[in-house]
């Protein structure tokens, strides 16, 4: 989305077939003879469609959906419908091609009721356009009311170890009342009471919902000082000053309202969605947590002078290994920004010199999703950004001290993702072999012409890549599950162990298609350790934890853990809920061990600088590691 229409990926809803009636075209095709493969000719004449082997465009949604109902050999199976996790994002489109329609929405995994399993929150859209009502909608909403929805996970672990997943929509009793056009969500315990809170980013005013620790939430947007107006997408809770309170980075996109909406056209003159270049970027905001339920906007002093671009993705990690959390901001069509923490409450942008601002060709990309993780197991946090079809995704390998090398080509990820429009993504070890893999949720932002007859011709398949442990990746999408072939407009993706069975599952939010609950059926064939990194807090209340009894305290997002194995390299992982696209991940840390059965040592580097060790952590179960409860190193 970073350029004006430049001759690629533009839109024709009624393309070639509308020039001539099909029967006339077929009449011509019958007259062809010499040397021209008939299938190709027919393809050309009835829609100019060639062989489709290059892209998984052959499966229709319905047939693929039928196939998606669970072949045993599939690595991921969609369990959304059968578990009553029913949600469809409604983007409010009515033919006006309003820019925001293409970019929502996010999803959060959070244990809001502290019962030890992950619940799900989806943001929801509204009608867009002055005076527009649902009667004007191009595609009717799947359900009403149009509010963000909270689903409680009523997971049952059966006696034989199998899981029964069921979700209950508890939005009404939760008190969560969203009233804007939802874009994304961040989840973390901002007030250190042991209960995870929600920050919903909007087109409109953002909302902060404080968890009352009794199954309900209170809207504290205004009193907290975080209810900025405009257009925010991704946000991240991060303790940047190591004071024990989670601060908040809010990524803002562009300055847009319905009156300033621009009309853009493709190369052939057909209307299409605009690009961010048409609008002015809206500055991001950094809010410092005052520890009393309020935040102070410290953007001007902490991020002096910018730069700020149209932000879509945010990831936080300690990129230079100095013990202080840094911020990486993915911008759409402008240089990405790497805010290096200066350890004094301020940050300095090192994006360009670090090598993570642009692609290997020196050009800014249409960066959307983002994640930080140590894919090469060298102890340094690497970065991935998902982008436009003509760009592929970018992999930046951290070579230490905060300098990165662009490995998009060498890893194979760049070439393999050309032709896809990437949004939600994460580093996650889906097969628990100890190496981080990658999933990308895709969906076009410019109509796919050959599907111009569809009301919403933007669907793309999802992608799964396996880490080959040598810096390269393999596209394993064909084995991932037939659901990956569905052509959907996917945006937010949240990653976490939803059924607590020791492997990472995924929830994906789609525009005008049901959300997907991708249950991982292969990860726990290998061994693993599951760690919840918890800080002590006088204010926090006891909660239940899967397989771990009663615990208190909040998830220490930003904490890093070294998993020290016998006869194998140390693995570095991090507790985080940020990354992906407008979404919030499971803050727990799940580390794959392959076929190793020895309990590893865990050395935790807490966000405040403390380091503690746990000599032997039980494998194949979830364990809580509480700050201050083990030997300091």
């Amino acid at each position: 989305m970073n350029t004006r229409r430049i001759g690629r990926g533009t839109v024709e809803g009624h393309g070639w077939p509308s020039l001539h009636p099909p029967n006339e075209l077929l009449g011509v095709s019958r007259s062809l003879a010499r040397g021209v493969p008939m299938l190709l000719v027919l393809g050309l004449l009835v829609g100019c469609y060639s062989d489709s082997s290059s892209r998984a465009t052959g499966a229709t949604s319905s047939t693929a959906a039928r196939r998606a109902n669970g072949a045993a050999s599939e690595w991921f199976v969609d369990r959304a419908i059968e578990s009553d996790l029913k949600f469809t994002y409604f983007n409010g489109m009515s033919g006006g091609l309003y820019y925001p329609e293409m970019l929502p929405g996010g999803v959060a995994l959070l244990d809001y009721d502290n019962d030890g399993d992950l619940d799900v929150f989806f943001v929801q859209g509204q009608m867009l356009g002055e005076g527009k009502t649902l009667d004007d909608a191009t595609i009717r909403p799947a359900s009403l009311p149009l509010k963000g929805r909270l689903f409680r996970n009523d997971l049952v672990v059966n006696a034989d170890g199998t899981r029964t997943l069921h979700f209950t929509d508890v939005t009404e009793q939760s008190g969560i009342d969203t009233h804007e056009y939802g874009m994304g969500v961040a989840a973390a315990d901002f007030n250190n009471d042991g209960c995870v809170d929600l920050y919903v980013t909007n087109l409109g005013r953002n909302q902060l919902f404080r968890n009352n620790c009794d199954g309900t939430f209170t809207d504290v947007s205004r009193q907290s000082g975080t209810d900025i107006a405009g257009w925010s997408v991704s946000a991240a809770f991060v303790d940047y000053d190591r004071d024990g309170w989670l601060d908040l980075y809010v990524g803002n996109y562009v300055v847009w309202d319905i009156r300033s909406d621009q009309k853009c056209t493709g190369l052939t003159g057909r209307r299409d969605y605009c690009t961010p270049a048409v609008y002015s970027p809206q500055r991001d905001r950094l809010f410092h947590n005052n520890g009393n339920g309020t935040f102070t906007d410290v953007t001007a002093t902490a991020l002096p002078g910018g730069p700020f671009g149209p932000t879509l993705g945010v990831a936080t990690a300690d990129f230079d290994n100095d013990g202080w959390i840094d911020l990486y901001v993915a911008n759409d069509g402008r240089d990405n920004v790497l805010w290096m923490n200066q350890r004094n409450g301020t940050f300095k942008n090192m994006g360009l010199l670090s090598g993570v601002a642009v692609g290997a060709d020196g050009k800014p990309k249409g960066s959307m999703g983002v994640d930080a993780g140590d894919f090469d197991n060298d102890g340094a946090e690497d970065l991935i950004t998902t982008q436009l079809p003509s760009e592929g995704i970018n992999l930046y390998r951290n070579v230490g001290s905060g300098l990165f090398e662009d490995e998009s080509a060498a890893s194979g990820l760049g070439p393999m993702t050309l032709g896809y429009t990437g949004f939600g993504t994460a580093w996650f070890d889906f097969d628990n072999d100890g190496w981080l893999d990658l999933l990308v949720a895709n969906g076009a932002i410019e109509a796919i012409k050959e599907r111009g007859e569809e009301r919403f011709p933007y669907g793309e398949p999802k992608l799964l890549f396996r880490n080959l442990r040598n810096g390269r990746f393999e596209n394993v999408t064909p084995k991932a599950g037939s659901l990956f072939q569905l052509l959907e407009v996917s945006r937010g993706a949240a990653f976490g162990d939803i059924d607590n069975d020791g492997d990472v599952d995924v929830v994906i939010s789609n525009i005008h298609a049901p959300a997907r609950l991708l249950i991982n059926s292969v990860g726990n064939r290998n061994h693993w350790v599951g760690l919840r990194l918890v800080g002590a807090s006088a204010r926090s209340r006891p909660t239940r934890e899967a397989g771990a009894g009663s615990v208190t305290g909040r998830d220490m997002v930003g904490a890093r853990v070294e998993v020290i194995r016998k006869n194998a390299p140390t693995l570095w992982r991090r507790s985080r809920s940020d990354g992906s696209y407008g979404s919030a991940n499971d803050p727990r840390v799940l580390v794959g061990l392959g076929d190793a059965t020895d309990p590893p040592m865990a050395r935790v580097h807490w966000p405040d600088g403390d380091v503690e060790e746990w000599p032997a952590v039980a494998i194949d179960r979830w364990t809580v590691l509480r700050q201050g409860k083990r030997m300091a190193r």
């Binding site: 469609y49 009156r259 809206q282």
Partner: protein, 488 residues
């Protein structure tokens, strides 16, 4: 679809059908008909349809390099890259010494991470065309990938020398310097990076690029010329686009911009006014008209234009900023201040607005507020010369005694003098010295500054500096921190 595009497609399609129905057409000719249709479809971004056409063309005319070549570019744009490589390889096989094919195939190999395969292609291209910036650029990237950093620097510097407008080269060069540990040079190159890559001479792709006749296609082409500073070509493209779609506000606005760049202010105004007449909501035209009016000293019209821009687009920060600036400059600082406040409400860290607000406060003689705002700004932008200089002026010469602090002014200016030795800074140093009672030294500094200004022929500056010198010679401090000309 625009009628012009539809007509183009119909004509090409009819030509193909005519060939097919003719019966005794040679395969090569029929292939060419498919290929030509493919080109048009590709230009219109019907990639899948174009792909089928090129495949047909390639089978009918296997010796014609054009079809695999275009197919290579098509797959490069839409993926998969592997097919792009195969197609370029085929084209290369058909025409082994074509520099454009060598460069594009090498580029595709690089994108695949195959620098070893790319290297001989760029070397061959350089053998054929030693002054090809694109080939040097490719060879430099190969060297970078192979960690041959001196080699990368050599090739990339050569590429830049051959094609200085290809600003993307600065990035690669910066990375090469970084890898050598030369961070100052790396940062200097990175600061100059842009998005224009050196390209090989490529008549085939140029033909395709110029094929589509639609308003937006001309808009894109004109925009490219505009970016490259080719005003006349840009104007030409925008006019052609407007001939197809006279109501297109973007095209007309850009035509106005190109005309203004060519020095035709009247022509620009005419175009901007026409956009405003037909598309009043197109705030960019209001803004541009305001800029032109302001440059011509037509302040009231500029104010009107900027006001209209923010009326139609309340979030148009640049327009509001300009409005604030003109209001302050034309004696309406209170109104200007209000506009600055609105900008800062949306964007509290915007440097231009923070500075503008402080200067508006100076105009309003609210020196304390101005000092406080500049002090706050320095916390956000430590060491920023604009803020520290303005604050030093206020501390040295504000009429309000509670604002003045000669010692702090001197400290600020001493710091500033380490990096900047301009007339302005010299004059401020003299003000600070005078405020501290060191009149002889103030006068000495002022005389030096005057001599330098006289040497530079800056008569207006000299006049003002001389007024202050007289004060210092009479052992009196300055109480005019900024002249009217100095205030923004």
């Amino acid at each position: 679809m625009e009628p012009s595009v539809r007509d183009q497609l119909r004509a090409r399609y009819a030509a193909l059908v005519g060939q097919i129905e003719h019966g005794d057409v040679a395969d090569a000719d029929l292939g060419a008909a498919y290929g030509e249709l493919g080109k048009l479809l590709m230009a219109a971004s019907y990639f899948d349809a174009a792909e089928a056409c090129y495949l047909n063309a390639g089978r009918l005319a296997p010796a014609d390099m054009r079809w695999p070549y275009y197919l290579g570019h098509l797959y490069k744009a839409k993926g998969p890259l592997a097919k792009s490589v195969v197609a370029f390889e085929k084209a290369h096989h058909l025409r082994p010494n074509d520099v454009a094919i060598l460069v594009w195939l090498g580029d595709a190999y690089l994108t695949q991470g195959r620098s070893g395969a790319a290297e001989p292609l760029f070397n061959q291209a350089l053998g054929l065309e030693p002054n090809s910036a694109a080939a040097h650029f490719g060879a430099g990237r190969v060297a970078l990938a192979k960690k041959d950093y001196p080699g990368a620097v050599t090739h990339l510097e050569k590429a830049l020398a051959l094609d200085p407008r290809a600003t993307a080269t600065h990035y690669q060069l910066g990375m090469a310097y970084r890898a050598r540990g030369d961070f100052p040079r790396a940062e200097a190159q990175l600061a100059r990076k842009g998005t224009i890559e050196p390209r090989p001479i490529d008549p085939l792709m140029r033909a395709l690029d110029e094929l589509l006749e639609s308003a937006e296609a001309y808009n894109v082409r004109g925009g490219r010329e505009l970016e490259a500073g080719n005003w006349a070509s840009a104007t030409d493209d925008f006019r052609k686009g407007l001939a197809l779609k006279p109501s297109d506000p973007s095209l007309r606005h850009r035509l106005g911009t190109a005309l203004y760049q060519m020095g035709d202010a009247a022509g620009a105004i005419e175009q901007f006014r026409e956009v405003i007449r037909t598309s009043p909501e197109f705030a960019k035209a209001q803004f541009s008209l305001g800029v032109v009016m302001e440059a011509a000293g037509r302040h009231e019209e500029a104010i009107e234009s900027f006001s209209n821009a923010v009326k139609h687009d309340t979030g148009y920060i640049q327009a509001r900023l300009q409005l604030a600036r003109v209001l302050v400059r034309t004696g309406r600082p209170l109104k200007g201040l209000a506009e600055y406040q609105q900008v800062l409400a949306r964007d509290p860290a915007m440097k231009e607005a923070v500075f503008g607000r402080a200067m508006a406060l100076v105009r309003l003689q609210r020196y304390r507020d101005a000092r406080d705002r500049l002090g706050d700004a320095l916390k956000s932008y430590p060491g920023d010369p604009a803020f520290s200089h303005a604050l030093a002026r206020l501390l040295a010469a504000a009429p309000d005694a509670q604002v003045r602090d000669g010692a702090q002014a001197k400290a600020l200016i001493d710091e500033l003098l380490k990096t900047e030795r301009s007339f302005d800074v010299g004059a401020t140093e003299a003000m600070a010295l005078a405020e501290l009672g060191e009149y002889e030294q103030a006068a000495a500094v002022q005389r030096d500054v005057i001599a330098a200004a006289e040497h530079a022929g800056l008569r207006n500056v000299v006049r003002h500096l001389t007024d202050n010198l007289k004060l210092y010679e009479r052992r009196r401090p300055c109480r005019t921190p900024f002249t009217d000309d100095e205030l923004p």
